[in-house]
Structures are given as C-alpha cells and as structure tokens.
Amino acid sequence: MHMADALISPAVGGVMLVATAGLTVYSARKLKEEIDDRKIPLMGVLGALVFAAQMINFTIPGTGSSGHLGGAMLLAVLLGPYAAFLTMASILTIQALFFADGGLLALGCNIFNMGFFPCFVVFPLIYKRIAANSPERKRILAAAMVASIIALQLGALGVVTETFCSNISDLSFKTFVLLMLPIHLAIGIVEGFVTASVVSFVTRNRPGVLQTAAEPSIGKQISIKPVLITLLIIAALTGGFLSWFASTNPDGLEWSIARSSVNKVLQSSESGIHALLSGVQKKTAVFPDYNFRKDETEESAKSESTQGKQDVWPSVSAGTSISGLLGGAMSLVLAGLIGFGIKTCQRRKPNK
C-alpha cells in the first residue's frame, strides 16, 4: 500500500508532506525532552530490524499466500509513539529511495498512512487501553489484533482518500474503498497475530523490557495547541499555493461530493474561493494549456486531433476544478487534524 508519485497530485503530495514534516519536527522535539539517549541507537537498530524482518515471508495458514510484518505497532509498543513514528518514517524513506517502493513526494502520504495512524492514533487510544501493561497473553493478542486491524484500515482509508483527492485515478471513492478495506482487514488480522506473537515472546523472555522501553521519563509537556494551529495555517497556505500549480480533472470528486451531505458546506466555500481563484487564474495567464482547455470547453467542440495536437474533452467543468481540488485537500487535512485534536482531548482528560 505504498503510494506512488504517479497517482497523486502536487497539492495532495504537498499538503501531506507538510503535515508529515510537522509531525517529524514535533516528534523530534518530544524525543529530546525525554532525555533518554539510549533511544538513539535503539531506534536505529530496531529500524534496521523491522526493515530486515519485512523481507522474511511466512505462509498464512489456510490461504497459502505469504505475508510479512509491517512493524509499526510493534515499534510503538517497544519505543513509544514519537520514536516509533520517526523509526517508521526512516524505514519508509529508505524503501522509497532504494527500491522506489513509494514515491519521493508521496513520502508524506506514506509516512502519514503507515506511521501517523498506528503510532499517534491507534497505539495510545486503542492498544494501550486494551493491553494495559499486563503480560497476559490473551490481552496482548486482543490489543494487538484490534490495534493492527484498525491501524491498517485507517491507513488504507488514507490511501483511498489521497488517491481520490488527487483525481488521477478514475476509481470512485466507493469502489476503491471496497477494494482496499477488505484486503487490509485480512492483512490487519495477520499483522495482529504476528505482533502479538512477538510481543508475548519478548514479555516472556525479558519481562521488564517493554515497561522501560515505552514509558518516557516525564519531561515538560509541550502544549500541542500551537503545533496544531501552525500546522493548520501552513497546510492552508500550501494547499492554496500548490493547487494553483495543479491542473486535474475533478469531475469524479464533484460527482461524489454531490452525493454526500458534505456537499452543502463545500458549495458555499466554493463560491467564495472560486471567485477569488478565478481572478488569480486570469491574471496568471502563464498557463496556456490550462486556459486553452478551458476555452475549448466553452466551445464544447468534439474531440479531434492531429499528431501532437493538444487533446480536448467535452464537459470538463474547469471552472470549479481548482476549488474542488482545494476543497478535497482541505478536507483531508481537516480529517487528520481532527484525529490529532481528539487525541489531545483524550490526553487532557484525567488519566487513571
């Protein structure tokens, strides 16, 4: 489920990169607070271990197909959320660079899908709740299972959303979801088993290790509000700038948004933003092919071509394309930030 550059638009890629960069800076700062410099070599070798472990395949009983460890949940259990996030990010970066497994601009999406969800959402909210530091095998299995399934579903949802908002693939949201989620449910179940198996092994053979590894020594709490607000502002600016740079066909997005109730909200924002942005567009006539297509559309000419001439399609509502894209990108960022916000509120509540 590594996203490739070819399937995303610059806006989506850019927004996700900014979001991931923010998370990286945040995690690095939190790690510094923990004053545990033993984590530095530990993160490194565990990253290398998960990387190597991902190359060992095991057979899944009953299906005959093979699978391997994803590792994000395991890392979160061993290292705590911040270190685990950075470690997953480093693994994904190396995979992207050396194996083209995931694009370079798509790294933001991939790190978000496969790092943010498991480490910052599922681990604290779900795994920790169920496992509750107990060495009981059943508890660990339950925690790992539920956590892995949900994390992978969220990740798959992320992939679908990012692909859909980019509007390069013609897959509708619904179809893509129906394809991705069941597959990742199965992968999640397997991942749950394997994670539970490893965690149980470690707790049995070296009981103290999880306690000391995951719980950070409490330093000064950084308030997350300023981080969230900064992220929101940066994302908005980036989304606006980059969608100015993009030019995609948003028909699919328009169409499916029309079917949902979110439609009302986006319509109003569209008119305001639309007016502003068409003004910007007119001034920046630097994009001839973009304008060229728009003019053709207004003539609604049938498609026709000679060798090399720009191709044209009927019924492209180019007017709303920028706003549609921006709307899509913003909803993605909002979703991520809402998740973040929920996590903060949960942490604010008095802990047991």
Binding site: A4, D5, A6, L7, P10, S27, L31, K32, D37, R38, P41, M43, G44, V45, L46, G47, A48, L49, F51, A52, M55, I56, N57, F58, P61, L69, L78, L86, I91, L97, A100, D101, G103, L104, L105, T163, N167, I168, S169, D170, L171, V190, F193, S197, V198, F201, V209, F245, S247, T248, P288, D289, S303, E304, Q307, G308, Q310, D311, V312, W313
Partner: protein
Amino acid sequence: MGSIESSFFDIGHLDALSSKDTPIHRVDPGVKVLTTIYFIAVVISFNKYDPAGLAPLVIYPVAIMTIGNIPFAYIMKKLLIASPFVLSVALFNPILDRTPVLDLGLFSVSGGFVSFASIAAKFVLTAGAGLALIACTGFDSICSALSRMGVPRAFTIQLLFVYRYIFVLGEEASRMVRARALRSFGNKGLGMTVYGSMIGQLLLRTMDRAQRIHLAMLCRGFDGEIHHAASSKIRLSDFFFLAGWSGLFTLLRLYNFPAWLGRELGRLI
C-alpha cells in the same frame, strides 16, 4: 539467493554505483535532491490526459543516467519490480473511462487509455528520477544535505543509523532463515508461530546490540548530540545545475513542446 540477501545486495550495488566519479556524482547532493524533487513535482502536475507533454521531460533521467554511468537495464528492472501497485490501480482507468477522446481513423482511443498512459509515463519518470538520484549520490551525503535543509537531526541521524545497521541485521536475519530452512526438510514455508519467535529472538539480540552500541558511544564521549561532519560548499556549477534544469522543467510545463513539434512537423508534411 534468498530474497533477503538479494535485497541487501541491491542496496550494496546502489551504494557502489554512487561512489563512481562522474560530473553528475560531483554535483552537490543538496542540489541534486532539490532538482529531483522539483522534477517530480512538475511531472505529477501534468494533466492526466496529457501523456505527450511528459515526453520531453525524459531528458532529465536519461541525462543523469548517461553522464552518471548508471546502467539503464538495472534501473528498468527495479522499476518493473516496483510497478505492480501503481499499474493495477491505473488499470482501472481504461475500464472506467470509456469516453473516446482520440480518433485515429480505424479505432478510437478512450480517455481511460490516455490517462493510463499518462500514469505509466509519470511512474517511469518519477521513480526513475528517484532511483537515478540515489544511484549517483551516496546515502549519507543525501542525509547531510537534508539536515542542512532543515530536516531535524534526530531524523537524519536515525536514517544514517538504520542504513548502517541494515546490513548487519540483514545478515543476522538471513542466517536465521537459512538455519531454519536447512532443518525444514521440504515442509511448506515458514509458519506464523515460528516467524514470531524468530523475530522475537532477533529483537532481543538487537536490543542487546543497541545497548552495546550505546556503551561504545559513551566510551567515546557521547553526550546526547551526534555532530556529523560538515559537508563541502556549493559551487557555481552546482547553482547552474539547479537553475538550468529547473528552468527547463518549468518551460516544458508551461509551453507544450510536443504540440508545437507536432504542428511544425505537420506543416512540413
């Protein structure tokens, strides 16, 4: 050779390629990173129905690979291995989008095929540029460049550490896998419980190793901060590299070169 060994062999091979000495290798790593990122951004900004416009951009990866002495076949093979996910998603486009957009007389081409071609072309260009980057720039220079560009040290040091220990851990893992295979007598594959204990063992050994590394670091005065050596300065030629290529990409994005070429050729004929 098992898949583990071949993957690490692969990384080693890329590392070896990156230590050659050609004009491309000598360009500042940060400049190469920025150029590649801008290239990818320009490529993916193309409209999904415009595969032709992408064509001239192939000059960048081709130039890098030719001057940098990077074997095409090797890169193509890696692209092939990395392509399944992208292509399978892209394959839905011709199925879902049947609107004919191109009339070639005998048959018409649907929008879906055009967009499929565009996605495939984008994939080759972006993934190819990424691989070309790593093949002509050492990984640790990329990490120094990233850290100079503002990426947090915690992350770049982490990248370096993972890279350093990938080979050590890969070897440990492959030894374990081999030992198990030799005692399996043809039984089908590695089961999940055995896998769990193998990874568990590796994990405990890895954590011990981390402790020893930490000890070694302390013995050499480590106090929490890793100071990585400062890299070389940017030269004028590096600046020209960045400005020149970026300018070209921008021009190719703004002005439809293939369309112009097609028209001129049409006029000649």
